[in-house]
Symmetry: D2
Subunit: 357 residues, 4 copies
């Protein structure tokens, strides 16, 4: 039985490169030889034990690769094709998928939802930080990469870009809106780009790291707010002339940014939440208008599936945006433990790392 | 200067019938001679001092009446017409109105939103529990009552019916959905009726008062849950075979019902909040799926405007529902203090009272 | 190789019961033993040669049955379960499915749409008027029938009910709308029921057959218009006091009903088209307001998939509507040629026939 | 009674500059001193007698100006403010406005829609090609111009930009879509810009005039198709690799472009029509998939109202797009007959003319 290298969650605080068997390919699966992958903030939550996964699981959910082997029932693809798959891999055939809620994909019972059930890689099945990756429900999830695009150009599609854009999409950004994005890590930066793509007239990014504020400007922010320079809510109200934002996107996952997102909204506005929260959240009384302000709070898990991936790659192919600047560091898979060390400690201005098996 | 009787907020704990001048009619206004009005739970919050309004303000926001006098710039109406106006009276010309958010109607400045600003009667201007009522922006708000309908048949349109239905509408109820309504006061009962009208397949009402549970069944609930008989979340999960609800409507305004509403949702579900909350709210960690469950929380203030009123009256005219059973008691305006006493103490199975000047 | 009886399209004008092999079951398929099925107006188009299908194809697309055999990759079902499948059987994994357009399901290429490609039974693969039916992509399409429901109670779900309701859904019917349905065959009758379920205040049905007008009233029509009694557009304008309809549903497929549907709309209204048209269509100049009237024309193919079927069966289970009265005649599969004769000639007040192998 | 100069429709073929009285200001009106205006293709239809208006009417519907006098009931503005008003001036208080269909604004009767009723300037009341313009329902329609923007920068907001963008908005353009725009006059060019603003990945413009194709590229088109070089449908199918477009925007108003727009759509696509049609339209049989292809045809009249204008000016203020290149010629009001001559004959590469009283 052939072996491969894989980054495995051993215990809180330890992700190690180990040898594991190359997986068997079931009828609906595809085996991908991973050519590039990356580390996500969620992987760091896993590393730290803040988000629990099974010991021995291969982590990672952002694959770019080449089809090595197709399951017996998979049609429409060829071995050797370059593909990506989304971080979320909906089956296509669950009740959740068929009622328009694919990220909450559940088992084939009468009702069929599972919280965040579409997120399988590195969560409930082995993930992408390995030499090979088994993609379930391959026909719903494999999306061919156009020849003109490099691995690094499409590396953000599986998660960061899809998630960030969904912040703008689920916020219902309309032409001419004012949008605020709280926290400008990779997902927040993509939320800025998404708000820009959907026609926001005024985009305000909030963070403290100068490099991130600078990239936010390049991706479409009209204003950046450094919250160390004073209450960001007050700064935003000044920028918007007291009106507030139509949509506020929370891209961090803390009580503080959540509450500030609510506070900057005009009546009738939408808080679009992308953060992963480790605990409960408080809705401050004065920010919620006693329930009479027509406010909305929507939370979104990264949309997946091959059509989503196709759309995102098309945007890159036609030059709508360029996310390669987010790749600040590169590592070989053999050195992934160093990559985790750098990334989890946010050293050296790291935004995203490219990992190449 | 002619005088009229009006129910006035004097101080927390005291609403009194007083003599006040009949108001002058500005160019965009209409003066209505009130023929029937009612008391809302929100008026009780005002009475108790839980929702602050100016001392001396006439309370009430649910008018049925006859046009007494039209402002000089008002066209399209005649004195003597029977009309209603919504509890919320959008101007029609604010930025809020023109961007689809009429209940948050604000002043005519560049940005023009005000939290709950469309709610004027008995909140920021004199209200409907009086012999006469001045309706602002009359052309946007006066809706003629079809001859065939009695005052009591349309008495729920201005607030209760519009608000309750909006719970289902903003929840995005789709054909075949499962909807839970927490608390079956007049608004919750109308939310049940609204969910039924929008095609929910399964409607579950939660309360403890047997009369309310019975009316809920008449208005469309398939199941009723008495939360004194055990944890309502567990009961609902059993009824739905573990699936949970697509939409949960909160119609009370407490932390408990808010949290339970969130807990009964399937992943991707919507909490549609109609309650008036006196403080902050907590989103329990386990109910929010760490932000990864595609949940939405939407809050809604009663939709107003003459087209909304027309639609609601049309539904009554064609027999879609009959809300007269909600009128359990009748009082003359002279006896409104007794009506407040009964209603605020929820005595004698009261649901709604009709007040006739 | 075991044989079964099947109604086969031989040539225009001839559908015959023949012996065919019971189909082999591929990994994603399920074999259903059909217990009840029916004939659709579309099958009559096929019979007459107006809608071309391959000679030798088994016709029919409305199955109720029992799982006889599951494909090797199918999970979540058991042999012996009672199930239905929609007339449209989306794969779940096509680009069309994954971008929210499942009825236009196409092959697994980069783009993947095919006009009406989700309609496979009796169109591109063998259909349901047979002893056995092979259901493709079984996990996306098999929907268990609740024990309490009979075959005839759910017989309208696969096509008629799903299609009729979609007329109201795609028309965007809102609470309080006025909806007109042109032609009250089985689909038009279900469109009436769908408009009622979605909260229309006023529903107007147009036809000439007294029995159909009577059933339309039972299913929710407030007014019925017999177009032999005069121009239906004029009658509808009178009923609506000159306002016109918010939504007009075309449920026949002729130029006349199409144009009338457009003519009864208020500015900004929606023509929701369900008809199958045998030729081009003309949009009359005066009905389209020179393109300045914000009118919409939307066409819809029957939504399928197991979640849709579940929702429709839930509505029947909770008593929202009863479509059994549409079943006016019953035949054994052996007598299906007689059934076609009766149904295609619309004799004896036939609405739908139940066919039992 | 003071006089002013105004371009008046005299008879088909003749628009003349005449002296007319400066209008009186009613309570809800504002009088604007026009500083810049322009000529629209629709004005040419009026000139040619193809779109009928009353003889003696002042034409034009695209004003930039300064508030000269406010009606007695108008609040929130000051005389001397620089403002624009949309080509469409909804009242804000009609049934049409209050049900979300402001461009079809109608009189204050019970039902209140009028086809294209929101278009008043130069259609049903005196228009903007004059020294002074009376704006009805001023509070709903006057939108202050930010100091930093010149008249010419905002000159496209009242009609061209609002209309063009609405083609993309009503088409429901989603992130990653493929959009085709047929005809690249000023409105088609703005439709290209609108599709770009809403996140289309691939935009294809169709025209023959090289200058227009060039500007289309600058405003966001990825591909341009010269229909003299061959069947545009075939060219577009080649560009899209056989897939077709998600949205096709018709921006001319002819049978040919309408039919081609339908033919380039993928199943489930949307034809978004902006053209003004002088006669009926034909939907070709093969392009409509017999009604089974889930196609939509939506037509849109320019959205107006002050919030729309604010949003469009905000986009210009933050540099999202620059439409000044569309202003190819400038005239004084005194020379407007020459301007009509140039514009109606499409001489000298004219796109839009700026007219300054």
């Amino acid at each position: 039985m052939p072996l491969m290298k894989a980054a495995v969650f051993v215990e809180p605080g330890r992700i190690e490169l180990q040898d594991k068997p190359v997986p068997d390919v079931g009828p609906l699966d595809a085996l991908i030889r991973v050519t590039t992958t990356t580390i996500c903030g969620t992987d760091v939550h896993i590393l730290k034990g803040e988000y629990p996964v099974a010991r021995g699981l291969t982590v990672g959910h952002e694959p770019v690769g080449v089809i090595e082997k197709l399951g017996s029932a998979v049609q429409g693809y060829e071995e050797g094709q370059r593909v990506i798959a989304g971080a979320i891999t909906p089956s296509g055939h669950s009740y959740a998928c068929l009622c328009g809620c694919a990220s909450q994909d559940g088992p084939g019972t009468r009702h069929g939802f599972r919280p965040a059930g579409g997120w399988k890689f590195g969560n409930t099945i082995d993930g992408a930080q390995a030499e090979y990756l088994l993609v379930p429900d391959a026909m719903a999830n494999l999306s061919p990469v156009p020849d003109a695009l490099t691995d690094e150009q499409v590396l953000m599609c599986p998660d960061i870009m899809s998630t960030g854009f969904s912040g703008a999409e689920r916020g219902g950004v309309r032409i001419g809106d004012t949008v605020v994005v709280f926290a400008l890590g990779p997902i927040g930066l993509c939320a800025v780009a998404g708000a820009r793509l959907m026609g926001a007239a005024t985009i305000i990014g909030v963070d403290t790291v100068p490099e991130r504020l600078a990239i936010a400007r390049r991706l479409g922010a009209d204003h950046v707010v450094d919250f160390r320079a004073g209450d960001p809510v007050a700064q935003i109200m000044q920028i918007t002339d007291g009106r507030g934002a139509d949509v506020a996107i929370e891209a961090l996952g803390t009580q503080g940014t959540f509450a500030s997102s609510l506070r900057v909204l005009r009546p009738g506005g939408v808080l679009s939440s992308l953060g992963v929260y480790s605990g409960g959240l408080n809705i401050p009384a004065e920010a919620f208008g006693a329930g009479l302000s027509d406010l909305s709070i929507v939370s979104t898990l990264c949309p997946g599936g091959k059509d989503r991936m196709r759309r995102l790659m098309d945007l890159i192919a036609t030059g709508r945006l360029d996310l390669e600047p987010l790749v600040t560091h590169r590592f070989r898979l053999d050195d992934i433990e160093q990559a985790y060390d750098l990334f989890s400690n946010q050293r050296d201005g790291v935004l995203k790392v490219a990992i190449q098996p």
